[in-house]
Symmetry: D2
Subunit: 365 residues, 4 copies
């Protein structure tokens, strides 16, 4: 059976390039369309895109002609790496035209009928897709993944929330420069420096995303989870990998060993389904007293850049426990998050039962 | 009248060099003795010391002969930049021999009869000196300044504690490499990285120092202040300046404006006395949404490196308020802290009434 | 007598800010006009400019209203920090209207009747000003300073050229990020990296600037000096200070000691005139085997950022000698270069004899 | 047939860890012995070694017991990552005891009967091994690889030297921090800085290594090649990858296209033999005007870290041509260099004809 044809919206930017890189050799997907701004449209991808990742641009896409961001291309899924200035309307156009849009943009994350997804955390929220199609009269639909900092925070919290109930979360982020895209952060602003402010980031982490992600689908929408988050967001001079210092209080206070056990035993649906981009295991706990560290650990695990790495669990004098979380921001926190969402769509039959069966047989072969 | 003769213990190291730099041209003090390890003793300072600060080694000390760390030198005050492996006993020897020891080492900070001082915060703790001399039968005495991260945390809290009572503090530090001395942090460990662990640092910030600094002298000792601190300490790739993300809860919840007012109106004894190294004002509040930043603000204020710079005051969803604090770690957080302690000793008559009068007249001339 | 009124073209950019910073408290000049793009015009400087240097924006200019870049303002000298896209025509307009334009832009550097100046090196080239005014029928005129990398190369070569005749020069630069302005170099491009290419830089250093600077004014124009330069230009992750590895062959081979002597005895006109921004001495030689270094030495000397610092003189196996040169790129290599040119104009009577006399008496008072 | 048993001398250090990493899963070699200082001896490798590379310590070596650096262990080859303070004598002891020592240390590189090898460049120098065994009465022998900066310089020169004859070389290095080992360069010395000095490095590049590597074996020893090198060596704040700016003059001046052709057609013995660690091709030329760059290109090619990457070939005003070379310093420039030497030993029968045959059949299978 042929691979599923996919396109990338905003293919020449930093996140767009990550999509292209991660889709190279993907067992289920093949790129058949690359979309970018008018300025790039009509050029070969190799000419339109200043490739900024290690390794060469994949051979298969070098001569693809970049298209403007309009429906019509021959593909079933489009991954969106569009900036929020343009993502909103373009994604709607594609969804209306029948495409499955897997978006990394923030525009539709908070819409009541759009799933904000981490496949390990809330796969049941996919049910919103049917609601969305009905509401909006679309033949396609939009799914989204959360902000890079939220992703790893919630990935670490999920197994604990299920067992002990998260009540209060204190989080301070130390975020890598790649989180701001390219050219993004000026070297003049960050060399020998820390910037204690990232526009809009604290709002996303405090109010908009964790409570939706850990919320419950009640048949007609998401009942947001009820816990409080305080976030301080900082930019530091690391290339990749957001580090987060977290303190937490639970409904039911566990022991330190019970927390470790919850992380150790964590084997959610995405891992059970053996989605190709799902790391096995989803969470790595590092015992060493000075880990995780961005440079050494951001690519740890079975699928580089997709795992959440945790360390330094210890009692907290104010709340119950504190620990450190690290995750790759442009892989799991951006392109990889959308890609895993698309894999979940396939495995759950949202791209047709044929694909779902194939995925199942291929994976378990 | 002549200047007060002072020496520096551990003069060849990173903090020792800062002492030498800050004492150049000091209005009250002049360096007459430099002490270092056996290996350096007998050499001229210029030959014994690999000068690692911008600008040249001060001319006046280049040819001073470095001595071993033993009492006997012609000076009244010794500043201690010794590592904790050796500081304990050597400082005791000097105090016993009649010197006023102003130490940056941690060894005696937590002794019940040794003042842990920030001149703006707890000058009345100097009363411990008499107790200490009596207890130990010494003709001299030891004073200490707190850890670099504690210093700026407590400097920011003090005006708030006085008015509203600090109850709970959450702090995450992003500390500069110079805090680990020289050679200190390997470049292999910190380039493109953050290390979420600094040995012993969280213990100092949580239990040992803030509560003593904000404690009350009751005639026989310090009654520790009663509040709880949760600290996460991180090393980041900045040269100088520790940045701290802080959330706080008070006994009596103030308004945001009342907090700003408390900082604005802060004019404690050290500033009233116009101690030469006391910044005017002690606390700077920066209104800009992305400040303070280490590179741009660590030298802000009237005495470079001595002020505490605060920004981003805003409500906190969990506690009452949150904000960002920045302070220079090797100036106010180390050598400058000890130096200001020594200036307080002079002004308060602990080095003789003649000096105190002189200080007074000179300052207010 | 009043100070000379000056304006800054392109005042909100990186080099423009350096002009503003260096002009604060200047003994001869006071800023009366700030010019920037249409977007900034009409705003107060404090509102139009994102101040990016350490320390606060000087109080005297905070409320100056930014003007569009057109003649008419009340000042005698304009410093140009304009980008080369717009500098050419605007500078001509100001010169035609009677202003003395001291430009850091490259547009007019290579015009046969425009002096390319380093006051220590070729003050006699100022004679081109009369030629220029005659040629062009202007009441004002343009002077320029060289590119940041050329400035320090030629500053080091000049005393040697005079005595031994420079014949061949090999130079490899390691240039700081601030050389590209703000936002300039993306942090994504330079963290943990070196970029072995800077657009147009090698051409300037090889053919366009050193030979003009060391050329001879023959009454009707500059006879370019006759030597060959090979340049490799690189961007490295340092904030300020261009480091240059240089090998050199002379017409008459000197001894190592003769070279050191030429640098030691160097006391050109700018230093004899005691121009306020001229460092005393102009060249610093550092004997230490691992110096100069950008972080430690870029601000060395009597006027921070204005001296040329040299080290590691040793025989070269291919040419005669090799050594290392360091200079501050945004101070001496940009704003400070133009400022020193303006000071030379004053002292040499190009801004009127009254000012020249005043400068003389003030300086030698 | 079983794999060849190998050991690593100095296994806990930075280069030692690279050996262990590169030997994991090697088709011909398996680690059976790890040697380190007395302090580590007797401990499991996982306990003795602070693993400092990305990814986990290979499982197969975690529980190997570290031995003191003395002959006796069950292996046929030992790789030496020893520091030069101890490498000299220990390597001799192992060679005398019958081991094939493949050393990265500098101690024996310049001995007349010890081959200094780059398998692509001078495999015929292996003939020195027989001479060495005879001279010294050893049953084993020592081979060495050059310094990291020399390796990539000579790798780029070799195909040109063969065709056009290298006459003069000018080289300026910008070397990564990992070249100094761990902890190596203090972060205080290199953040926001360049250090224009590396002890002993310029001597190695100018006189000791390139001429031996490109020399001719005349039956009784190496006739050094006759060309002159001028080197300036600098440390820059990059993690891995030495960048070199090179100008060159030939005996017979080629065209630019002839140089590109020489690199393009380069297919030396190591590549013909398909040694497992030999990159295919050995030299990569990058057409882009701003490449190679350390971060983007140090792992380029078929065996990450083993290729030499070249760019920016253009005419030089002083010599004939100039270009930029990049190579990984701790892979090809250290551990990978020794490893490739060992692979050459196998393929050429120096570890026994059985192994040679096997290598041949396995590789060409």
């Amino acid at each position: 059976m042929n691979k599923i044809k996919v396109g990338v919206l905003g293919a020449t930017g930093a996140v767009g390039q990550r999509f292209v890189q991660m889709l190279e050799g993907h067992p289920w997907f093949e790129i058949t369309a690359l979309f970018a701004s008018e300025r790039s449209a009509g050029k070969r991808y190799v000419d339109a895109c200043r490739w900024n990742l290690r390794g060469d641009m994949p051979a298969a896409v070098r001569t693809l002609i970049v298209q403007e961001c309009e429906p019509g291309a021959d593909c079933q899924v489009v991954f969106s790496a569009l900036p929020s200035e343009t993502a909103g309307e373009i994604e709607e156009d594609f969804a209306a035209a029948g495409y499955a849009v897997c978006s990394n943009a923030r525009n539709h994350r908070y819409d009541a009928d759009v799933p904000l997804l981490i496949p390990e955390v809330n796969p049941e929220h996919l049910a919103l897709v049917d609601l969305q199609k009905r509401n909006r009269g679309w033949s396609g639909y939009i799914t989204t993944n959360p902000n890079c900092s939220t992703t790893h925070l919630v990935s670490a919290l999920h197994p604990l929330h299920v067992r002990f109930g998260v009540k209060k979360v204190f989080v301070v982020t130390m975020q890598a420069i790649s989180g701001a895209g390219y050219p993004g952060v000026s070297s003049m602003d960050i060399l020998d420096n820390v910037v204690p402010y990232i526009s809009g980031e604290e709002e996303k982490m405090e109010q908009k995303e964790p409570q939706k992600l850990l919320g419950v689908f009640d048949g007609s929408g998401i009942q947001y989870a009820d816990f409080v988050v305080s976030a301080h967001c900082n930019r530091v001079p690391t290339r990749n990998g957001h580090l987060e210092a977290i303190s937490i209080e639970f409904e039911a206070q566990p022991t330190q060993e019970q927390i470790l056990q919850a992380w150790r035993e964590y084997h959610p649906l995405a891992q059970q389904l053996k989605l190709p981009s799902a790391p096995q295991p989803a969470i790595l706990y590092d015992e060493r007293q000075d880990r995780p560290q961005p440079r050494l650990d951001r690519m740890a695990g079975s699928v580089p850049g997709m795992a959440t790495v945790i360390g330094r669990l210890r009692p907290d004098p104010l709340l119950h426990f504190k620990f450190v979380v690290l995750g790759h921001n442009t892989i799991r926190g951006a392109a990889g998050g959308s890609l895993l969402n698309a894999e979940l769509l396939v495995a759950q039959g949202y791209l047709g039962q044929d694909h779902a069966l194939l995925a199942k047989s291929a994976t378990f072969a």
